[in-house]
């Protein structure tokens, strides 16, 4: 039987999961690939660190070259994270004609195109299913399952930390700060949660998804990003009353060959398939011209779910080796990039305002919208407990962003309006 030799870069959470699967599922892997897959070397930062699996201690190395330049190794699994060194290692591994599987979203969002081109040039495979949506096979869904369709819109709940925080804020009516602390203690949020809560992690994943769904070479700079730190309990409670959940979503939409790509807290109507995706789960909603609405749901992170994505890629690479078709299944973004101007992007909006609690205040607010020719879909007014104020929450009809911004300014300047506390986009139903 053919023997396939695998080298790991990194032996952290995902690496441990991968080694666990390769160790315990040998027989299934043989059945699926017709090959014997063995681990030859594992690059670590610290040889002495205590690990769950000590039977591989003799394979550990501190020297990257023992893995990436090792002539015995056929396939590199990169689960060390990081960008600059990792990028170099992968380039060198590809030069050495090794196939690469990576779970590294940061790297693929920044240098994916360059690395994929290098892989194609060398006739090597480069798979990265684990980089988006953990155990959800969404990249294959886009490249193979929906290959025949033209995608019109992607909406992704692609960050488990922020989804956990917003779900808990919604279901337990507690503040952002309190839930963040709880999430940190449970391991659902990092000690430094910036990249998650500011939406950067989601933005990276949306770049990767957009390359595959649209074949458009968007970069991180093209993504308008807003995090969840300014989402207040009141926003969530009023959204609920109006029939919506607030989720941190990435949206990538193509219209007339122009792409709009953004990440931010967004209201989704309760009957939207994404609205009930809660806690640490991820889901990617894909709207295709012909297929209509589809959604892929599952665990967005975690040792074993992410390892399943990596090892499923590994099975594909080993089969490709048997068939001699490595490097054939590489999707490079081939279309020209044209970004839609923000001002013309259309959306519904949610607004929450504080107004004076006196006769005529609400009518001034609605009068302003009316004078500006923008109609409202829903409105709630409730008295505030303090300060002789009332709180007003509004869902507008669809409008262009620049038009909304004009009205937002006028609203802030309106005499009876004390403050516009918040506003978010609202995703309608198709």
């Amino acid at each position: 039987m053919k023997k396939i030799s695998v080298g790991l870069l990194g032996f952290g959470t995902v690496g441990t999961g991968v080694v666990h699967l390769l160790t315990n599922d040998q027989q299934r892997l043989v059945q699926q690939t017709g090959s014997q897959i063995q681990i030859s070397k594992i690059l670590v930062k610290d040889r002495e660190k205590s690990r769950k699996m000590d039977q591989y201690d003799h394979l550990l190395t501190l020297n990257p070259s023992d893995v990436i330049d090792n002539p015995e190794i056929d396939i590199i699994i990169e689960v060390m994270g990081g960008i600059d060194d990792t990028r170099k290692y992968i380039h060198r591994a590809l030069k050495n004609k090794k196939h690469v599987i990576t779970a590294n979203k940061d790297l693929m969002a920044l240098y994916g195109t360059e690395l994929l081109q290098a892989a194609a040039d060398e006739g090597c495979d480069l798979y990265y299913e684990a980089s988006v949506g953990g155990g959800i096979p969404i990249l294959r869904g886009l490249t193979d399952g929906l290959a025949a369709d033209r995608i019109k819109k992607l909406i992704g709940i692609v960050n488990g930390t922020t989804n956990y925080i917003l779900s808990k804020m919604s279901h337990q009516s507690v503040s952002y700060e309190k839930v963040l602390q709880e999430a940190q203690s449970l391991g659902f949020a990092e000690a430094d949660p910036t990249s998650d809560v500011e939406g950067l992690d989601a933005a990276r994943k949306m770049v990767i998804l957009s390359h595959l769904a649209y074949s458009i070479p968007v970069t991180l700079e093209d993504v308008k990003v807003e995090g969840i730190t300014r989402v207040a309990e009141e926003d969530i409670q009023y959204s609920k009353k109006l029939g919506y959940a607030i989720k941190l979503v990435g949206i990538a939409e193509v219209e007339d060959d122009e792409i709009d790509i953004r990440v931010g807290p967004t209201l989704l109507p309760f009957n939207h398939p994404l609205a009930s995706v809660d806690n640490e789960f991820n889901a990617i909603y894909v709207y295709g011209h012909s297929v209509g609405e589809t959604m892929f749901y599952g665990p967005g992170a975690g040792e074993l779910p992410t390892a399943i994505a990596v090892v499923s890629d590994l099975i594909t690479v080993v089969k490709n080796m048997a068939y001699g078709i490595n490097g054939k299944h590489i999707f490079l973004p081939l279309q020209e990039k044209k970004c839609k101007s923000s001002e013309t992007v259309e959306s519904q909006y949610f607004l929450r305002l504080h107004v004076k609690d006196q006769p005529g205040a609400l009518s001034k607010v609605t009068g302003l919208f009316n004078d500006q020719g923008m109609s409202l879909q829903k409105i709630i007014q409730e008295p505030l407990l303090s300060g002789n104020l009332a709180e007003v929450a509004i869902i507008t009809h669809t409008t262009e962003q620049q038009r909304f911004e004009q009205i937002y300014q006028l609203l802030k300047d309106l005499e009876d309006v004390i403050d516009v506390k918040s506003y978010y986009r609202v995703e309608g139903m198709k």
Copy 2:
């Protein structure tokens, strides 16, 4: 550029969708496959019937041999339905070294293994993504995306007609008969809806899914099937009050190498991902040992969604031709079949009873469960408007089927119980 010639068997709803996509998306198909795909012949039953697309009239034929024995044709797309003739045509096409794509769930459920074996023997492809879940790429999800995992449980809402009927019954509080009529007039149900409402269509799809998820050669006879015709409005209303939706689901579960496979109306807690899958949509929930919960959601039928699945298969076949790897990606059920004995399958149950509306009646019912050592999770009693009766709805804790059946008999014989109106299984959360 390489030219690929396709022959269609059938030109009904899905066939029209396929021809539509092949006509309008030529350029994308060339980009994706590097080949020019053209339609050469289309087998129809009636040449004179008026069709949406008349530019293909010159390709129509009444003679199957013009398609399946045509030396110019590389790939057969079977969208004619039916079983006996279709099976022969596909066998003959494979003998003629033509690759086959089919949307035919009835055929694949009955003769899938035989046809796949024939394809493998001839070195031909046989893909059938469209046979389950319409536009949802669930077969690829199981064979490729989750390749590395051992699946523990599949729960599928795989029949759009029954899901539409149960959703409407739930949201509009109307009877089965009334919604069925409405569904028929809207085209969501056939004039003869037997195969859908009796659960047979769902059973066929569960057989196909089980072959791929478990590699176990189950047959239709192994599926315990129950339809939705006895689901009453009251069942749905009491389920709602208890926190559950009633859905027609197929469940295929493997434990200790034994498979249990069934289709029937089942209660799902509202926080289950499948509970909010409504109307004509389908979804397949996949529970893997390592990945945990995933779900694939989308349109279960329809001209274009189903055609997307067919043409995505076509793209794969054409790429396989370019790589010379046709017939390599065939999944035959290789495990030994051991079916779990029904009696030992464990589940929670929902029961709805009519009891005498008098002191002590409810306590006799709960006393019986208590005496039999079965605990109850939830119970509601409400008076009925007529007949001095009360209605009781119960959710039990988990128990073996044989144990439940014993208690069911005792309950029917209990003095104050007038009738056990209905009972269904309840799917818990993992």
